[in-house]
Structure formats: structure tokens, C-alpha cells
Point group: C3
Amino acid sequence: MGNCCERAGNFFGPQKNTNVRVSLPAVCFVWQIAMIILFGVFIRYDDESDVRLWIQHKLDHNITSDIENDFYFRYPSFQDVHVMIFVGFGFLMTFLKRYSFGGVGFNFLIAAFGLQWALLMQGWFHSLDLTTGKISIGVESLINADFCCAGSLIAFGALLGKVSPVQLLVVTLFGVTLFAVEEYIILSLLHCRDAGGSMVIHAFGGYYGLAISWVLYRPNLHLSKRLNGSVYHSDVFAMIGTLFLWMFWPSFNSAITDHGDGQHRAAINTYLALASSVLTTVAISSMSQKKGKLDMVHIQNATLAGGVAMGTAAEFMITPYGSLIVGFCTGIISTFGYLFVTPFLERVLKLQDTCGVHNLHAVPGMLGGFIVTQTHMLNIVFDFTGSFANRSVGTQGGFQAAGTCVSIAFGLVGGAIVGFILRFPIWGDPADDNCYDDEVYWEVPEDEETLPPVLEYNNHMIHKHQDISESNFSVEQS
Amino acid sequence: MGNCCERAGNFFGPQKNTNVRVSLPAVCFVWQIAMIILFGVFIRYDDESDVRLWIQHKLDHNITSDIENDFYFRYPSFQDVHVMIFVGFGFLMTFLKRYSFGGVGFNFLIAAFGLQWALLMQGWFHSLDLTTGKISIGVESLINADFCCAGSLIAFGALLGKVSPVQLLVVTLFGVTLFAVEEYIILSLLHCRDAGGSMVIHAFGGYYGLAISWVLYRPNLHLSKRLNGSVYHSDVFAMIGTLFLWMFWPSFNSAITDHGDGQHRAAINTYLALASSVLTTVAISSMSQKKGKLDMVHIQNATLAGGVAMGTAAEFMITPYGSLIVGFCTGIISTFGYLFVTPFLERVLKLQDTCGVHNLHAVPGMLGGFIVTQTHMLNIVFDFTGSFANRSVGTQGGFQAAGTCVSIAFGLVGGAIVGFILRFPIWGDPADDNCYDDEVYWEVPEDEETLPPVLEYNNHMIHKHQDISESNFSVEQS
Amino acid sequence: MGNCCERAGNFFGPQKNTNVRVSLPAVCFVWQIAMIILFGVFIRYDDESDVRLWIQHKLDHNITSDIENDFYFRYPSFQDVHVMIFVGFGFLMTFLKRYSFGGVGFNFLIAAFGLQWALLMQGWFHSLDLTTGKISIGVESLINADFCCAGSLIAFGALLGKVSPVQLLVVTLFGVTLFAVEEYIILSLLHCRDAGGSMVIHAFGGYYGLAISWVLYRPNLHLSKRLNGSVYHSDVFAMIGTLFLWMFWPSFNSAITDHGDGQHRAAINTYLALASSVLTTVAISSMSQKKGKLDMVHIQNATLAGGVAMGTAAEFMITPYGSLIVGFCTGIISTFGYLFVTPFLERVLKLQDTCGVHNLHAVPGMLGGFIVTQTHMLNIVFDFTGSFANRSVGTQGGFQAAGTCVSIAFGLVGGAIVGFILRFPIWGDPADDNCYDDEVYWEVPEDEETLPPVLEYNNHMIHKHQDISESNFSVEQS
């Protein structure tokens, strides 16, 4: 690959070209204009958000009060999901010492583009009116669009610091497209249940990102090692992301479940699974260190595994203690992943996974997808009325397993293809010794720019020392 | 002006007096006691929050369930708006390297005072019962009070770092008063629609702050130039503000629209306009830099312009693609504002606008106010039932334009007057070489205080170097 | 006490053993497994979250719409409370310069364990079905569990930086247990009203923490003085906590009040009391400093006192101006507490209260509990229908006072006992010269670890200076 040669050239030849001054604005403009045109052709308000249709809808359904508009059932959950997507994922990715702008900023860009494309893609597959050729959108569509972005944001976690914003927009374009297709197959063709998206969001997103990262393997990434880590404050910033994800996960898993008991139960189950994850994450994290010290990487990530794994089963009658068991197991599995699997994957499979999405999304998501099957086998009370298209519980379990496999396959194959596309030397990705560095794509505040890139953040102190030592020395010594 | 002389005196004479130990407590106490007295005379619970009146209300309106209490229609949106006011605006203003305490702390003070005064002012104008002489308040009043504070907080953005907390309380007192009057004229007399406040909040607040800043022009502000900028972490803090504003803007614009489809549609339209803004902001920001690098100032601010501009039209049948167009244009306009207009205003008009509220609030708010007119001219589907006091769409467009002009006029004239009041040399404002500095009004943690004010934050390192170099040198070298 | 001797040993003998590698995982695993077993035996979904029971419930209560599920009345408030517990309390405790990991991380651990144990304890006391032996849980149970954790988190505030995570889990186990008992006595036996928990949460939690801290008094704590303070950025982090607590307190106090006007009124009253607190806190803070400068400790804490004090009376017809008066007084009292009472307690009573919970929770909570009595005596309109078990207002006032005393007694006596348990030398608590330091229980990012613990955070700069001075000197000087 010419790409590799170019990378190697960093040592001997000129700096890699990371100028995105043409490509980034071009992609943003072209895609946004395309969105406007496609929205103009396809997208309309639905029955509950159109002024005339809502009046008709109330008459048709004998509704007397505006409170029965779906808005009031789902909008609070939508806003919680929205916070998870933008602040939760965004701040979770600020943990690197010099990539916080990129973490939260590119997350913002990906999601803002992705949700528009998702409204179209999901609309075409799920709510296209074949008579009028129009897609109707309402608050549930907005939630689904946010969900759809989550897949690409998870992939971003694996790629964090190693790709350009233009590449991220490509990842999102294909990610959302693949998501809509696999979601259609899993939910509409296989009739699986997956309200919180263990399979369609987390397993897919995780393996999608991992496959891309695998294709984009950088043998000389160690040249950026100095920046591939946190500092004290960046770890605290990342906890903002962790906590908003953790707190609002009950809303994530209940946002599109059935009105009434469905949303109620999904929230309870997720709340319990998450609480249980925290305890086992702390336990394993402490056990793994010589003096029992806790590792922020585990606390920031593995505590969330219970929410991921409850995605599929959240609305089921899995019982409160069943939820605790799910969280208990996934907290352990996820923390072990950070301790042993990520280093193993990097060493053996040449897989560089910046945020460890394998442990937080891919594996817990996959497990979540299989829980329904396990639930049955363990003879835990299983009680779900009138769905599953007349299937027995056993048959449904098989379909759920099939759905999980579909999501993984889409992630792996789709990610591999997208990875190869991203290897063309036109995207402005950073050199191996320039990864995890905001200087490449951001105007970083002045006082950090005067030092050579090899030095870390706070080193700018020293040159000031030089400048001020004469004038202020007397003050310092007094 | 004696004020100017005093400022010039900084170079040759004694330091300016920034002691607010008498004035700040005095203003706080007097105003808070006045609030208690006025609330005692005027403010009561409304039909839906008073225990007896709610029972009567349910009988009168044949309501069988408590869920039809307005609380359940609006409280989630109210809390989102509340977060925007205190965390959104507050953290957006932490971006300066040494004014984060002032940014988030004074924002807190302004809003906490402003909302009380707003309940009274808006009550007198909008919900005073002339029989009893009482104002009834409920959850919608709280939302409106928060909105009203937003006007003064926007003005604070233009003044950030250059005024004392006492001046800010004066700005708020007059800001809320002017707001209530212009709102009454625009909404109640001209019968304009402005649910999300493009005109009454953003255009007014923006021009109000700019007019004050223009009157308070500081020719020697360059003496504080070292502090008028961000550091890495302060930019990340500011992103907390940006994201909470961005995420919750759909709640802002839908909080007081009609129940049912009105709130639903306003949320959808705002969500889309904001997404579109992000793409065009990124595009223009990247185009404007030599290597295509993104500027945090643009990402933190211009991405929000779509929400500002959708304020007036949010509840209209503007169509989803119409919303995307609004965001598309305002993202571009706002970013261009930061690139070209703010420097131009400062150089030519002598207008010092710390946060660039001209680009984020004044212009997009004004545009938002005019959108209804444009909407009509562009023959976009316009469909709003039973309002506008029997006016044709064309006539209503004219009134909307008139309303926008009223808001701007109130901002400019009111701001100029308040600016002159603030020039009296009694308010304890900082000297020109002491702006943007928390040391003036805050007890700043010890380790930063030992250095002379000319040095920036992290420089305190050096004196420690002096102290510890002997004792720890061996450790360092090993 | 051998404990004391061991502490004294720090100067002459080996470092204190803070290794929690066995104890922390053991406690986490044992307790989480116990939770799973007890949940399996006792906890079930309630009428509104169980798929079959909800269908039956709708038939029984003649409910036609799912919107009347309690989920829609309480879930938005629940999520706000959840944010207060995890982000509010968590970030409020990040203010120390080198204990932010512990502040937010241990808060996370305490709450995640505490809420599970609270569901059981509160269930046994309040909703155990004696026929089936089962506890039914729904969204209101989740809110109550979060409330119950708050008691232990308040106690954590007094102990911050001085105890090990294992000790904190013990504090939580007993704290939740004591909470459930005192809550049962106060609400179910004495029939007090305390919707926002002034007595049962704040007065109890505050005195519980203070009593523990008093027993754990460290005479040589001054050895850690260098770390017992904030830095600039940590104070900004703490403001995240403050603001989320402040903004969502209306949800806290209205979360479990009566549907309809009850929730509505509680939100309004709390909103007003909080606004009033801010003004008086600023006033007293400014008055207390030579140049009128504000102190972040006051702004971060005393501004919240109005919310604490409104806990008991939030749902009463206390009138809007009554709420302002409550906030006015408690803001003053709380700020005076930080100025005078905390230093007094430390000097005279040997009480080390890291976060000053005495001023924010103990005293305002106690005052809040007594407000009902005062309310009556002041002849303020008191209007509450059909509760109080046929008591006169005067009698009820007496019972409220009795309830407050019960909560304080439980806090003091329970805390003293727990404190003595925590003095056994087995819990891995830090040495006197190692308090307030994340290094003890956390893997702290590398670049801070190379310096001896006596030096503060940013000092790691210096050794880099050594490393790079040769290679980069030319760059620095140019």
C-alpha cells in the first residue's frame, strides 16, 4: 500500500499532509446540501407533529387530551438520550491529555451529520409511505436517529486520535447506512426485540470500529505513545461523560419501548444492571493492581457494561435480580477485557483500539443479544405478551441469536470495506508520530504552540521561565 | 468623563478601586428584601399549583386526571431551559483562561436575581388580575422568568471580564425591566409570534449588551490582552456550556408553545436547524485557516446559531427541510461574523464584544425575527391555524418585522442609557490592565496568588522550582 | 487505641498499610452477591411496571391511557434526582486539588451500592406485602433509593479524603440501614411530612457524617494541609456539581409529592428559595473579605441551603414570598457557618468536616424540619388538605419537631457507633500525611507519579525541564 510507504516516509521525508482545508469544507457543504434536498423531497411531519394531522389523529383515535401526544411519552427520554450522545460519548472521549478538543468536537460533528442521514436512511427502511413517497418523522424518529449515530460514535472510540475529521465523516456516512440495513434485517425481517440496541447499536458499532481500526493498523503508532494517555484533569473531564452515560442509560433502553409498563420496566431493569456493574468493576479493578488501587480506565468504561448488555432484554420480565446478575457478569467481563483482551488484541491481532470499545460495546453488546436465549435456558421467568409473531420462546431465542450474528457480520465486513476506503492517501490523516494530538486539526491556544510537538501539554511553562526569570526573579525569591 | 481620566490614572497614579465589600452586599440585600416584599404583595400560586384552586380547576374544566396539570406538559422542558441558563450560559463563559470563576459565578448571580425580578415584571404586564391585584404563577411563569434572564445573560457575554458584579446586577435590573416592556409590546400589542424568543430574547439581549459595551469602550483594554484568551482546559470547560445549550435548545424553543403538536413540531424544527448549523460552522471555520484547522471559538458559538434563529419560527409549519436551510445559513453567517465582523466592529466602531454576542445572538436573532416574512416570500408552506388575530399572512409578516425592530430599538437605546449609568465611578469596575482577571473579585486558590498579576495561570510553577530545586534535585535526576 | 499509635508510627516507623487489594474486592463481591440473593427472594415489579399487573391495574382503576402510569408523573424528576446524586454530589466533591478521582469515583461507588441496599431496606419497612413476602418496586422506589443514598453521600462529604473506600462502603451499609429505620419512625409512626427530606435526609446525613468524623478525629491532619485545598480548575469542576444540584433541587423536593398541584407547588417553592439563597450567600461572602472578594467555598455550597431547608415544607402552601424568606435566612446562616462555625468546630470540638456538611446539610436540614412549626407560629397561610391523620396544625407542628429530633439522634448515635467500628486498624485508611491524596487508592496518570508526594500536582513540570533542557533549549531561547 502506498499509504504505508507514505507513513514510513515520516522519518526520512517531509511531514505527512494533514491539511483538510479543502476536503473538510467540501464534504460538509456537499453533504449538508444533499441533506436539504433529500429532506425537501422525502421528509414531512408525522401525525402527531403536523398541525392538521394531529387534529385528525385525535378525532380518529378518540383522544381528548393533548397529553396523549407521543411527545409527552418520549420527549424526556429523548433529551436524556441526546445528552448521552453529545455529552456522554463526547466527554468520555476527552480522556487523552491532548485530544480533548478532537474527542468532544469530532463527536459533535459526527453526531450532527449522522442524525440527519439517519432520519433519511431509517425513514426509507421503516416509515416510507409508498403511496405518497414521503417519510413521516416525530419524536420517536429523533430518538432512533440518535441511536443510529451511536453506532458510528462507538466506532469513533476505536479510531480516536488516529484519523482525520474527513475520514470520520466517511465512517459516519457508511456507518449510518450499514446500521439502517442491519437494523431493518434484524428488527423487521427477523422480528428480533432489541429496544436498547445491544445488537443493532453496540455489537454492530463495536465490531465496525474494530474492523476499521484493524485495516488501518499503524505499526509505528508507538511514536505517538507520549500522547496516548491521560492527565489528571482529562480523567476528570472523562468522568462527566461516564456519569451522564451511566445515569441516562435507563432512558436509553426505555426510550422506544412500549408505553406504560414497558418503559417503566425497561428503566428499572437498566438502573439495576448498571448499579451492579459498578461494584464488580471496582472489585476487579482493585484486584488487578499491586496495592489494590483503582484504574480510571475501568471506572470510566466498564461500569457502563451493564447498560449495554441490558439493551436487548430491558423491556422483558427479566426480574430485578436477573438484571443484577446481568450487570454483575458484564462488569467483570468488561474489566477483564481492559486488563487482558485489549493488550492481547493489540499484540496478537494488531488491533489498536483507543477507547477499548471491544470491552465496553462489542462484547457486552453481543452478550446482551444472546441473553434472551440464555434467559430461556436458565428457566428464568420469561413473560412477554403478544409479540414474537406467534413464535415459541425457544424459536424466538434462535432468531435473537441469528440477529446478533447479523449485526456482528455487518460490523466486521462493513468495517473492513470502509477501512480500505480510508487507506487512500487523500483523507489527510495524521502521521504516526502525530496521533492523539489536537495540534493537527485544531487551533490550540497560543501558550501551548511555542513548544515542539514532542513535549507534552504543560511544558510550555519552561519557556516562560526563560522569559520571565530576569524580571521576576526578585519576586520569586522574596 | 471623569471615568476615563481615572482609567488613564492607572499608569501614573494609584490602582483603581475595585472594592465591592459595601456595594455588593448592599445591593444584594436591598434587592432581595425588595423582592420578598413585592412577592408578598403581588405573587400567588396559580390555578394549577394552588391546592384548592386546582380542585376547582379540575371541576370547571371537567378534568379527571392530574396528568393534565400544566406541570406535566412543561416541567421537563422547564428543567432543560433551567440547565441552559445556569450551566449552558455559565460554562460557555468559562473559556477565558483566568475568568472562569467570574464567568460561571456571575452568571449564577445574575440569573438568580433576574428570575425573581422577571416573575414580577412579566407578571405585572401579562398576568396581573386587576380585580385582586395579584399575579398568579405556575410552571410557565418559571420558564418565562428564565427566558427573561437570558436577555441579560447575553448582554453579560458582551461585557465579560470588563465590569464588576455590582454593574452586572444593574445591567440585570434594567435588562429585565426593558425585556418585560418590549415583550409586552411585541407579543401583546403587535401580536407577534416568538415562542423561542429570537426577537424578544436574542436580538434584544444582543443589542442591549453591545450598546452597553460600546458606551463602556476601553481604549486601553489591550493592557489586559494577556488574559483575553483561552487555555486548553478552559476551552474544554466551555464545551460543556456549548453542548448543554445545543442539546436543550429544542426544549427552549418548545417550552411555551401550544400543547400537543405545537411543542412536538417546535422541538423537531429546532433539532434539525441546530444539526445543520454544526456542519456549516465546521466548514467555514476550516476554510478560514491556513491548514484547515478548526477554531474552538467557532465550534463553541456558531454551532448554536440555528437554535437562535429558529426561535420565532419554531412552532410554524416551516417544514423539516426549511429548518435545515435556516441552520445552514445562520451557521455560515455566524462564523463569518466571528471571522470578520467582530474584528471590524472593534476596530471601526470601537465595540469590544468579549464573547461575540453580535454573531451568536444579535444577528441570528434578528434574522430569526425576519424569517416569518421571508418564509412567506419564499412561498414555503405556511400553515398556522387560528392565531394572528384575523390577519393575513402578509400582514402578519409586516408585524413580525415591526416586532423585530422594536426589540432592536429597545436593546440599543436601553443599553446606551444603562451604559451611561455604569460610567459613574462608583461601581468598582476593574482597571484596564486588570480585566478578565478573577483575582479582582474572587478569592483565588493560594498557589496562584504569589505571582504578580502580569503572569499567567501556570507560571506559579516556577517559584516552586526555586523552592524545591535543592531538596528534590536528586530525585529528579535519578 | 492502637489505631492512634499506628498513626503516630508514621513519623518513626513504616508507612501505614493502605492496601485494599483484598478487602475492597471482597466487600464488593460479597455485598453484590448478597444483593442478588436478597433481590431474588424479595423484590418484584410493582403494579405499574409488571406487564400483567398493569393490565389488571388499568381495569381496576378504570384507566384508559398508559400516560397515567406513575412512570410519566415521576420519571423526569427521577432522572433529575439521579443527576443530583451522581453528578451533583460527585462533582461538588472534586474541589480538592488532588482528590478529584476519589471525590467523584467513591461517590459513584457509594451510590451504586447504596441504592440497591436502600431498595431492600426501604422495601421491608414500607412496601413489604405480608401475604406474599415480596417487595414491589416502581419508579417511586427508585427515587426513594436515590434519596436514601443521599444521606450517606452527605456523610461522605464530612469524611472526604480521610477514609478508605472500604470504610465508605461500611458507612453506606450502616447509613442506609439507619436511614430506613429513622425514615420509618418519622414518616410512618410520627406521620410527619418531609417530601424533600430536610429531616430524614439532610439533618440525618449531616449529623451522621459529623459524628463519624468526630470519632475519627486526626490530631495530626495538618500534615496533609498542603493537599486540603483547591486549585483553579478543581474549583470550576466543583461548580458543575453545585449547579446541577441547584438546578434540579426543585425536582428533588417535588419528586415524590402528590400528583398535580403538589408536585407543581413544591417545584415553585424550591425554585424561589434557591434563588433567594444565592443573593444572600453572595452578600455575606463579599462582606466577609477585606476587599469584598467572593469565596468559591461559599458559592459552591451555601447557595444550596435554600433547597435543603425547603425539603420539608416544599409541598405546603407556604406562599412564594415565604419561600423567598426561607432561602434568604438559610443562605445567611449557611455562609456564616462556613466563616465561623466550621473553624470553631474544628478548634473547639475537634471536628474535621472536609466539605462543611454542618453548614450545608445539618443546620439547614434541621431548620427545614422546624419550619412547619415556625410557619404556624408566624401565622403564615397554612393550607394542607386531608392529611396529618386528623391532627390540628399545632399538634402536627409538635410531631414535626419530634421527627427532626429523631433524625438528629439517629445521626449522632449511629454515627458515633459506626465511627468506632471504623477505628479498627483493618480498613486501610490513609496516614495523616497522606490524606486528600488520590495516589493512595488510584492509579494516577504517570507524569504526576515521579515526584515525591510532598509536592503538588503541577510540579512534575520541573523534572521535565531537566530532561528536555538540553535538546530544546535553543528552541526556547529563540
